[in-house]
Symmetry: C2
Subunit: 316 residues, 2 copies
């Protein structure tokens, strides 16, 4: 593996970030461009290729030493076919993104959704290093996940495994964007926390949250910390649901580790203490005693390092 | 694989059944003895060995052609270490059952819990033949499961994966035997269905269920079929919860197939129609369109054929 490199591309709705990195995870170069999704499929594809070319150029690495490219993209997508099916903030519709990039650079190209890429990133470079079975859960605007089972990413039959934000937690709960009722995402995501706060303010509840023009989950965490009871209750309820979702994941997958990332995980001990409390109540002792629940460690570069890790895992 | 055989042992609380079978699943001989758990660990171990010896003798197969032994047992157990941890109807406590059987017959011996063995049985000989990813769910006294992922049994970190009967479906639901509240098993198992029926009768609800001295899930299905509204409501509620449990499994594992076995699955179309209806409401279309939900096909010999299949899978 000496002197071998891969390229990771984090394809997002606002920017495309590409990096050249070594197999040990050292980032040699990084190049970022705006996505400009409104310009359409071919323009964005061209920009992906440019990002890769620039990252290679800036790395000063011999192109022959670069063995593969990983692309992390929002889903739904078909990792096996290399196709992005459709996704709200990108122009691609049933678009095979792997083929043109592979034709251009003549090395294997791998595509996966961003939650899976982040899971692989934590597995290879982050909190999950050394485990065999781990689940990555991201809690931010939505709730998503990825699983490493027996040392391999587990994608399922239609590449939709670990769509855990759409696990039903409360059968008559609030309607989710997906159309179902009581999904984890509609009860415990950052978006759900902000929505419950807004509803409390609109109902005229006595809360310091009413001082803000726009309430996000961040304000709810801040005001709860300062002692606001309404904010505390909202968080307690949302994190109880998150705990149930994670309990169900543990009961189903029996993993060594659950890694929680995304904006809500930045809430720190208030999040992890509550999740662990619920897991201890609801899972078999043999399971919760043997499942570490820890925060993600890859920070700002989680997206592109996930794509790098995808390229490394698939090249092995 | 020509002329090769394995032995399967189905270790149950009331009887021990052993069979010699070919790799293609042809059962050559079968021998059964009562378990007599009350006689203790060594006595039951001796009886397991006797069952194997008798099955070999009756098969007339050359012992050299038998390559391995699979044992399916109630859990919790440690498949990797070959140990039964503890189980209500067997005398074994932290008992390594693999070692003495291996020493006796000098071929590899594999242990797994009965739900996993049944999953492997359906995968190799039953409804799951030809799939890569499938989940087996058994709904009878309790609810359990097993997963074949990428063509291999998935056991998890502590051999407790797919303890799906203890997925929380209703956070303030009835207390489960495990100590948690609102587990699938407490809401949708045969035991739960019978309990809800008994409660309805005790409350004096107008139902034909009050004609029975002892109500099991069987009576509830029968009376519901005959038009009893109380029985129909009980089933509708329980099967709705079972549907949510299976929806959550599909959302998490994205399998090609969910196979439902156990006594409750014998309810037939009333069970499968309701489960499919709930899954269509609650899962992504891309997932439910691509997940077959079907009844188990191995009947009376499911236990011993599961153990046979375990021996075959592990010998490959």
């Amino acid at each position: 593996m000496k002197n071998k490199y891969v390229i990771g591309v984090d394809l997002g709705g606002t920017k495309i970030c590409g990096a050249v990195a070594s197999f040990s995870g050292e980032m040699i170069s990084k190049y970022t461009m705006p996505t400009r999704a409104e310009e359409g499929e071919e323009a964005v594809l061209e920009r992906i290729i440019t990002v890769i070319e620039k990252a290679i150029y800036e790395s000063k690495v011999d192109e022959k030493e670069i063995v593969s490219i990983g692309i992390g993209s929002p889903g739904p997508l078909d990792a096996k076919k290399g196709k992005i099916i459709t996704t709200p903030n990108l122009p691609f519709k049933n678009f095979n993104i792997v083929k043109p990039v592979k034709n251009k650079f003549n090395i294997p190209v791998y595509l996966d959704n961003d939650a899976n890429a982040a899971a692989i990133g934590e597995y290879i470079f982050g909190a999950g290093k050394g485990t065999d079975n781990m689940i990555f859960v991201t809690v931010s605007t939505g709730i998503g996940g990825g699983a490493i089972l027996n040392g391999k990413i587990y994608r399922g039959n239609t590449c939709n495994a670990l769509e855990i934000g759409h696990m039903t937690i409360e059968k008559n709960g609030p309607r989710c964007n997906c159309g179902n009722y009581g999904c984890a995402e509609a009860l415990a995501s950052g978006t759900a926390i902000a929505k419950f706060a807004k509803e409390a303010v609109e109902k005229g509840e006595k809360t310091s949250l009413s001082n803000f023009e726009k309430i996000t989950a961040y304000e709810v965490f801040k005001e709860a910390e300062k002692g606001d009871l309404v904010a505390q209750n909202i968080l307690n309820q949302a994190l109880n649901y998150l705990g149930i979702c994670i309990s169900n994941i543990i009961t189903s997958f029996d993993p060594e580790m659950v890694i929680i990332g995304g904006g809500v995980s930045k809430g720190g001990s208030i999040v992890f203490d509550k999740v662990k409390e619920v897991v201890e109540q609801r899972c078999f002792k043999a399971m919760w005693e043997n499942t570490k629940i820890v925060p993600a460690v890859l920070g700002t570069d989680a997206g592109v390092m996930g794509a790098v890790a995808l390229a490394i895992m698939e090249s092995k």
